[in-house]
Amino acid sequence: MSRLETKKPSLCKSEPLTSESVRATLAVLKEIVTSCYGPSGRLKQLHNGLGGYVCTTSQSSALLRNLPVTHPILKILTTSVQNHVLCSRDCGLFTAILCCNLIENVQRMDLTPTTVIKLNKHLLSLCTSYLKSEACGCRISVDFSSTQIPLSLTHSIITSKPACMLTRKEVEHISTLILRAFLLTIPESTEDPVILGQSIIVPGKGQRVTDSTVLPGILIDMSEVQLRRLLPIQKPHALKVALFCISLSGDFSDTGEGTLVVPSGVSLENAALDQLLNLGRQLVSDHVDLVLCQKVVHPSLKQFLSSHGIIAIDRLGVTLMESLSKVTGTQPIGSLGSVSPSSYGSVKEVGSTQFGSKHFFHLIPDKATVCSLLLCSRNDTAWDELKLACQTALHALQLTIKEPWVLLGGGCTETHLAAYIRNKTHSEAESILKDCGCTQAELQLMAKAFCSALESPACSLEHDGGEILTDMKYGHFWSVQAESPSVRNWSDLLSRCGCGLLSSQEQLGWSFLRSMHPPFAPPTYLPCAAVGLAAVRSASSLTVDCLTAKLNGLQVAVETANLILDLSYIIEDKN
C-alpha cells in the first residue's frame, strides 16, 4: 500500500536582503574574496575537515569551486562569478569584490531599487564606453611585435597568485615560457579567421620551477621500456596517422538489461578479434605508420601492427584527443567498419624526450599550432595553483590578441575610473538626471556608492595595514606602508604608483583614497613618456590587466548586484 502525503506549502520570504543572516553571510563571503586579492593576498585552505585533500589557494576559480554555498542569494553571486571565470578566466575576485561592495553600499542608502538599478546601469554604461573609447586614460594598446606588454601581462597575472610560491627569477622564467607557448599556438598563415592552437600543460612535479620548458607538439607519457620498444623508427617521409576514439580492445557493446543469445560454437571474442585484425590489415594496406587510440588496443592487434612496422599507442585518454586531432590534422575514427582513407592524418616526425625521471613519446607536427608546456614545481599545492595561473595567463593573451589593449593594473584603473565617474556625474549631472528621471540628491548618493565600490578592489590590494592614496592628476593608486610618519611630503615616502607607470617625483598632489576631495577630470590620454620609460625597464616594472576580462567582470558584477538588489521574494519549494 502506498502512502500519500499532502504537498507541503512553499516557503515565501519577502525582502530577503533585509535579513540579518543574509547580510552576515554576504559579509563573510566579501571578507573571503577581499582577503585573497592581489600579490600579497592571503591564502585559504579548503578541506573537508576529515583528512581529505587540502586545497591552498587564493584564486577565485579554485575557491568558488569548493565553496558549497546554500543561500539562494549567495548562490546567484557565486554562480555569476563562476560563469564569468569560465569564459574570461581572469578577474574573478575583482568581480566578486565589486559585486559584494556595490550591494553593501546600496543597502546603506534609502533609495528605491528601481532608482538604484537605473542609475547603476547608467554609470556602468559610462564606464564601459570610457574603457572602450580612444580617449581612455587607463589603457595601453598592445603591439604583439614587441614582447614588452604581453610579458608584463603574464608577469602581472603570475605575481598576483602568491600560492605559486615563485621567486622573482622563477616568475620571469614562467612568464617567458607562457608567452613562448602562446606564440607557438599562432598559425603562420594569415587565413581569415585565424584559429589559435593549444598549449597543453604537462606536469613535471618534483622538478625545479626553472626546469620548466616549452616544446612544440604533443608529449605522451610513457615508460622507458615501452618507449625503447617503439623507437627509433626511420621514415624518410612524414608519418601517416590513424587516430581512434573508440576502444580497440575487442569488447562487445553493452547489452544493458537484455541478454545476448549466441549459437553454440560461435566465439564472440574470436569474432571481435577477427574484426580487429581485418581493420589491422586495412591499416597495413593503407600504409599507416602510427595508430593512436584513446582507449585500449587488443594485444593481438598491437602485435599484428608491430609486426608490420606500425607503431600503436593506446590509452591516450580523452583530454589529449582534441590536441591530437589538431596536431595530426584528422578527425578521430569512431567506428570499426570501413575506415575512409580521408580520415588519416600525418605528423612530421616522432621521437622521445626525457624530462627529469619521466619519458615521453614526442609527436612533432609539420605546421600545427599545438605545443606542450612542461610545468614544474616543488610541491603539489604550488603546482596546482601554478597550473591555474598559467591557464589564466594563456587565456588572457588569447583575449588580448582579439582586443589588443590592456588596462593599467595594480589598482590604477579602478581609482582612475572612479575619478572619471565622479567628475562625470558632477559635470554632466543634468543630462544624467534627464536620462534616469531621478533627483540630484539621488544621483550624488548613488555616484558615491558606485565609485566607492569601484575603488574597493583597489583597496583590497592592501592587506598589511598600509595607507592608500590617489594622486589628484591622473587618479592612480598609490600605497604606503603602515606606521609611516605622517608627513606632508608624500613624494619621499611613495616610490611608484600601483601599475608602475608614474614616479612620485612627478610633481603630483596626493590625497587619501576615500577622503573627501573635490572631483577632478583625469586626463583622457596616457602619460606616453612614462609608457615609453616603463617599456625600457623590465616586464616587472609595469603591472597590467586583461581588458576583455576586466570589462566583462565589471559588467557581470554590476548586473549581478542589480539582480540581487531587485529580489523581492525568495520562494522555496519545501517538498
Binding site: 591564502l43 549567495l74 622538478q207 593506446d314 604550488a382
Partner: protein, 513 residues
Amino acid sequence: MAVACWGVNRRHKGLQQLSSFAETGRTFLGPLKASKFITDAECQESVLVSSTLRLLESLDVSSAVGQLLNEAIFAQHGAHGTGTTTLLFLAGAWSRAAEEFLHLGIPIPIIVSVMSEGLNLCIEEVAFLQVPVHLVFDHLDSPRAVSGLEAARVSPRGVPPPGTAVRQEDGHLKDGATPPSLTTSGLPEQRATPPEPCISQAKVGAVESTRPCCRRSVLSRSRHLGRMGSSTCSSEPGASQGRGADPPGARTCTDLAELAAGLSHGSDGCMALVEAAVRLQLQDARGPPFALDISRLFTCCVPGLPDACSSVCPGFVTLVPASSAAAIQALARRPARVVVMDGDVTHTYRHPGFHAPGRMQTLGGLGEHGARPPEPSARTSPSLQAYRPAVLRGLAAGWLQYLSALLHNAAGSSAMEANTVIQRHLQHAPASGSPIGSVLHEHSRGCGWMFSPRLPDERERGSRVYDAVTPKVEAWRRALDLVLLILQTDSEIITGHGHTQMRAQHADGVSFL
C-alpha cells in the same frame, strides 16, 4: 560550511600547529637517534619509531597543516630518500621565527620576500662548500673480481633491524631532484612493494635489535645512495652556477672509503653495501666518466634473517616460492632465454581495458547454460630595508637551532654548551677574513667529533663528514616553502560535513556560511 580564521588574537594558528608537529621530530636529528614509543591509548598498541617518515605515519595528521606537512615530507622522501628530518626541524624553527616576525609587526610580504631571498643567498654560498667527488671512481683500484652469482658478502657492523635492504632509487644522477624512477627494468613485483624505511641509521647497540621482526622493517640506505648521486653533480651547471667545477679551496674527495665514511655520519660500516655496489657497477662500466647508476640497483627484502646476511650481488634477485626452488636449481649455471610477462597466462586472463559483456547465453544442442566470461614578489620600500636584518637573523636562527639540536643529540652537550661551541665558530669564521676558507679548514681537520659520542678533545682524530648537496638544499627549500605557504594563509574553509565538529570545537573566529 565553516570558515575558521587563523589570525585571531595575533597568534597564527597554522604556524603554531606546524611548530608543534615539528617539535616531535627533534630527537631524530643526527646519527644518534632517540627512538620514540607511540602508544595508541585505545587499542593498546605501540610502535617504536626513530624516523620522521614513520613518525608521521603514526601521528594524526588529518588537520590541514598536518596534511601539507605530510605532503612536503613525502615529496622530499620520494625525490631524494633523505633530508626529511632536516625538513621537519627547519619547518618548525622557521615557523617559530615567522611567528616572531608577526609579533614584531613585520608585514607578511616583507617576511616572505626577505626569507626567500635569504635562503637563496645561503644556497649560493653553499656552492663554495661543495666538494667534488667525481674523481672518487677514477681512483678506485681495479675492481675485485666478483663473478657469476657469487655475492660480495659485506655487512655493516652496526646492528640495524632485520630485513635490511638497500633501497632502489632514482638513477638520473645528473639531477638529484628527480623523483624515483622504477621503470628502467623494474618488474611489477618491484613496484608493488616499495620498501618502507622505518629505522634509518640505527643507534649502535640500541633497542632496535630487540624489536620484533616486522615485515615492513627495511633499513633505508637510500640517503647515502642519493648523496653519492647528487654529490657527483656538484660540478654541474645549476648546482654551482657559473662557478668553476671545483670551488676554490674545497678539497677534492678522491677516496671511496673516505667518502663512504663521511656519508655514514657516525654509523660505522653502514655504507659497506653501497661501496660493494659501486665496485660491482664499476666492473661493467663502459669507461669514464663512471657514476653509480641507482636505477640499476634493486632491493630484495628477506625478512627474518640477521643483518649480517645482507649482501650485494650482480644480477637480479627475487623471492620465489619454495616449490619452484627445485626447478630453478635445475636451470642454475645454464644460459637462459628470458621472457618478461606483462599480465598473466591463465585461461581467464583478459588484457586490461577489456570489458566482458554483461549477460550472454550460449545456445547449445541440449542444455542451456549461462556463461559469464570473466587525478611574490613584494613591493620594495623603505621598510623592507628596515626589517631586512631582523628577518635574516631569524632565518639564521633556524640553522643555529638545527646545529644546537644536532650537537645535543650527537655529543650530548647541553643547549648552552652547544651554543657556546657554535658561537665560537661563528665569531672565529668572519674574523679569519674568509668565512668559507675557515669552514673548509675546519672540515679538512675533521669535524666528526661533533657527531661521535666521544669528547671534543679527540677532534684531531675525527673524520670528515659529508652531506649530499641537492637533497639538503631541497629540504631547506621545501621547509621554507611550507612555512611561507602557511604564513600567507589566514583561514581555513571547512566544506562538507567536517564543519559540524568545528562548531563544537571552537567558537572563536569561526563563522558559518
